[in-house]
């Protein structure tokens, strides 16, 4: 790819400066690596924490905001925190509600429930079920007596922290709160800002499981995805879906097989699948209780052991860096 660009540039001297500037930009540009898995419990967070201790000059971002665990290993010191208001929910003023029932009819989310009877009358008054309310505002817009208002909701908290290997951005979603996707976007936005300011080389993102809203919010616009998978029938099935998601959003994906020796024949199948879809398998990590033991000691794998397990993770990290250099997207 570089060669092609340079050939074109050589033919047109006006473009040479342009290309040179671009390359400078690329060198400066922080690379965003997102680690996801589709299936939960494949070892994402332990691997991300290990990368933190291997990378020089990285900003860590925990985007698994409803089950955030990265802080348990990296033990960040919170420097700044801010409330996160992600959306609104409807509120019915019981003094104003006449019980006409128009809101019940219009709500698509079955989020309006009866709340006793109107004084001295037979008709019901209503209240909002906050769990069901999606904050669409339709009820408030159409209420004939303007008894419904949309109230901003504090959905969680954002933390800007410092841990032993550098800056870390993380968050905590409130219990049974919504707007995960927006909170994930906020975490990434802050991580990018810090990375730019501090001239970091990498942003390493610990992503959530699944393929839905928070995962999409975690990967869009990233430079590379590392899928941590495991050789189980579920792991393979989930890998295929998450790889399809990466392709859908046009983000280069790479794979790392954790616990590969639990089922060598499925590990083989994963490699075949990746080969067929031109996805690089960056390494295999064996099944080892050291993952759990390191976690209990609040240590990353390379901190906990200098044995083969640390070597396997180091080689995945090394290849991942190499991949970032080789990827065509890196020079676009």
């Amino acid at each position: 790819m570089i060669a092609v660009v340079l050939v074109v540039a050589a033919m047109n001297p006006v473009n040479i400066d342009h290309v040179r500037i671009d390359i400078q930009e690329i060198k400066r540009k922080v690379k965003e690596i997102v680690v996801i898995s589709g299936k939960g419990g494949t070892g994402k967070t332990s691997i991300v924490a290990s990368f933190a201790s291997l990378a020089q000059n990285a900003v860590l971002a925990d985007c698994d905001v409803d089950a955030a665990d990265l802080h348990l290993v990296l033990d960040p010191h919170i420097k700044r925190s801010q409330d996160f208001y992600g959306g609104k929910k409807a509120y019915i003023d019981p003094e104003k509600c006449t019980g006409c029932g128009m809101c019940v009819e219009m709500c698509r989310f079955e989020a309006i429930i009866e709340d006793g009877k109107l004084k001295n009358q037979d008709s019901n008054i209503y209240k909002i079920d906050p769990i069901g309310c999606e904050g669409c505002g339709v009820c408030a817009y159409f209420c004939p007596v303007t008894a419904i208002t949309m109230e901003p909701q504090k959905n969680g908290k954002l933390f800007i922290s410092e841990m032993r290997y550098g800056p870390m951005v993380h968050a905590k979603l409130g219990i049974a709160e919504e707007n995960t996707g927006k909170l994930v976007a906020l975490v990434r936005e802050n991580a990018r800002e810090i990375a730019r300011k501090e001239g970091a080389d990498y942003i390493i993102v610990d992503g959530p499981p699944g393929v839905g809203c928070p995962v999409i919010s975690s990967i869009t616009g990233a430079d590379i995805i590392l899928i941590v998978t495991e050789p189980t029938v579920s792991g393979l099935s989930d890998l295929k879906r998450v790889e399809k998601l990466a392709r859908h959003f046009n983000i280069p994906a790479t794979v790392c097989i954790n616990k590969w020796d639990i089922n060598p024949s499925i590990s083989e199948k994963i490699c075949d699948y990746c080969d067929k879809h031109q996805i690089r398998v960056l390494g295999k990590i064996r099944y080892d209780n050291a993952f759990t033991k390191a976690q209990i000691m609040k240590a990353t794998i390379p901190e906990y052991t200098s044995g083969y397990l640390a070597d396997e993770i180091k080689s995945v990290w090394g290849r991942l860096q190499q991949q970032l250099i080789e990827l065509p997207s890196a020079i676009q």
């Binding site: 939960g40 409803d66 089950a67 817009y141 709160e177 919504e178 928070p214 579920s234 792991g235 089922n263």
Partner: protein, 284 residues
Amino acid sequence: MKIAVASGKGGTGKTTVAVNLACLMAESSDHICYVDCDVEEPNGHLFLKPSITRQWTVSIPFPSVDDRLCDGCGKCKEICQQNAITVINGKVLVFPELCNGCGGCSLVCPQEAIREIPKEIGKAMAGHAGELGFISGRLNVGEPMAVPVIRDVKKAITDNVEAIIDAPPGTTCPMIEAVRQVDYVLLVTEPTPFGLNDLKIAVDTMSKLDLPHAVIINRAGSGDESVKDFCLDRNIPVVTEIPDDRRVAELYSQGKIIYKSLPRFKEYFEDILRAINDKRRERG
């Protein structure tokens, strides 16, 4: 009765518990149904290998604007809380991925220029694996919203069955939709710091939703005692502790039902069954 198998942390063994439990229950009743609500990454079928007898698409309504009627007034953009509609140079643009199908835009449009058309976001299917009923959903890859698919899957549960609902990981909207209005939630965890941290969030979520719940400790012995201490401290029943065993991990990797290959493990699922029966009696 509807029983949900959930967890905060992913990969703790929800599906293992749900499929083994469903199979065990189906040995003595023909009114058991396994329901896979982990529609982002559904895996129950890999273990139960059901025959599917019915499949249907799950769609949500999203707006389609008739340019001939639209005068670009922007009322639709104003009401849309999802930012799924924008108006540029008097022309309405819709971003279907952001739309949650609330219908506000079509209701508010003074020109009646907005019609709602169904947009497929996933699939649902039903069938059986031997005596065991089977329902499952699958979100189309690239679609962000799992909740409508879960809602559709749960609607397919008939009144005459006992449902074992395999919930998605986490504690946000998809998990909440899966456990909404169930009778009993079994939270599967593992005895590790990550397991404990996410269990605490899951327990708080259950309390907020006012749902009766109990804990199952999977891979017992692999970590520390902190999960047990937490349950003791918070007075949350621990239904069973499934010991850590590499053979279980290997059987799981092959898509096998654990207790059928390792009969010694049957007792742990019998413990769970007993807890469910106790709960049923308690409810009367």
